[in-house]
Symmetry: C2
Subunit: 219 residues, 2 copies
């Protein structure tokens, strides 16, 4: 590889890295091109030698993510999970949460980008359905297997994705310190426990919590 190309690769990596940091800190929409170049220690004009726009840069980051850490997505999976099984549901949510945590800058950027297109564009709905396609497949499997579900698999999947991604956006801390506690005082485990439990048995809780078949136990 020529020296010029090597330097270019270094710069490109520095820009991407700076972008990730800026997105995580200030958000995608608030981050200006000059914020990225400044954080990368490069001149403003240099940016356009590597990316056509901020949107283009985001696509590059997305490609990187799918390239390397895609393992977490595909590697784990059996063809289908039984999401009514506590362990499997919890595991599935934990993987999703981990992916969001490990790629927080990109998640933030995609979220903000979709939202900036406005509600009429349907961009957010598209993102939601795309990100929950795997979930939908598992639910469709359950349905074919005869499991009674609360509704359309696609809609349930979207609802679950909405809950998870918005909580991730709101709760995942800026600094990905290894401890795993979030900005608002909730730990990852606490969040996952709550969401898993809520999605598994709802507010009413598991069947065993009240005497079986009892309509109402008066104090």
């Amino acid at each position: 590889m020529g020296e010029r190309k090597e330097k270019a690769a270094q710069t490109e990596a520095a820009l991407k890295d700076a972008a990730r940091r800026q997105f995580a800190e200030r958000g995608y929409l608030n981050t200006k091109i000059t914020d990225i170049t400044a954080a990368a220690g490069r001149a403003a004009g240099t940016f356009y030698q590597h990316f056509a726009s901020k949107e283009d840069l985001l696509q590059a980051l997305l490609a990187d993510m799918h390239g390397q850490a895609g393992s977490a997505f595909d590697g784990d999976d059996r063809p289908v999970h039984d999401l009514t099984d506590p362990t499997q549901l919890r595991e599935h949510l934990a993987v999703a949460w981990g992916v969001m945590r490990d790629n927080r800058p990109v998640m933030i950027a995609l979220f903000e980008s979709a939202l900036a297109d406005g509600p009429g564009s349907g961009a957010l709905w598209n993102r939601l359905t795309a990100d929950t396609s795997m979930l939908r497949a598992h639910l469709e499997y359950l349905r074919e297997r005869g499991q009674a579900l609360p509704g359309e698999p696609a809609l349930i999947a979207a609802a679950m994705g909405a809950m998870l991604s918005m909580l991730a956006y709101a709760l995942l801390p800026v600094t990905s310190v290894s401890t795993g506690d979030s900005g608002s005082g909730y730990t990852d485990m606490q969040i996952l426990d709550t969401v898993s439990s809520l999605l598994l048995h709802g507010l009413a809780g598991p069947a065993g919590s009240e005497p079986c078949g009892a309509g109402q136990s008066v104090p």
Copy 2:
């Protein structure tokens, strides 16, 4: 009331009305001041005789909303709902959904505004907790009553709010036609049924769907 003041009031109302339409169509972030004034049939400069900024206008819309339709929020409520009761949960969600539908422009604007502040600001988390304070109160009541809950009331409430508000943003149609079917082919009823059911009994469904107390029924 003087004639000038009357004209001013008319203009102000026209601006607010145009803003609501624009927010619903293009989203809050994409709407420029000139979009509003143009839609209202007024000159650009006129805007600043009535509002200091777009943010200020949003606050005015919010105040209007709390003023008139606040009835839907306060009027209905007994001190607490038992959210583990199917009817009461469904009713609570239906009211929330209706408020979001009836005030879609403001909801959209608040959502986008909070998101534009970036993830570090905590604006979205604040919005989420504020909008679900009533829900949280109901959950705390249940907890004190001895009900087993999936986790912290505040966290559960936020999770529910996240699901509902994001679905509303993504699914509520641009044109608030009276029929009540959403842009992506789901009806309001379908969405409410699904969400209610999911939040009440989770993916596993009500206790009665499987033989009571059966760990696993092998085919």
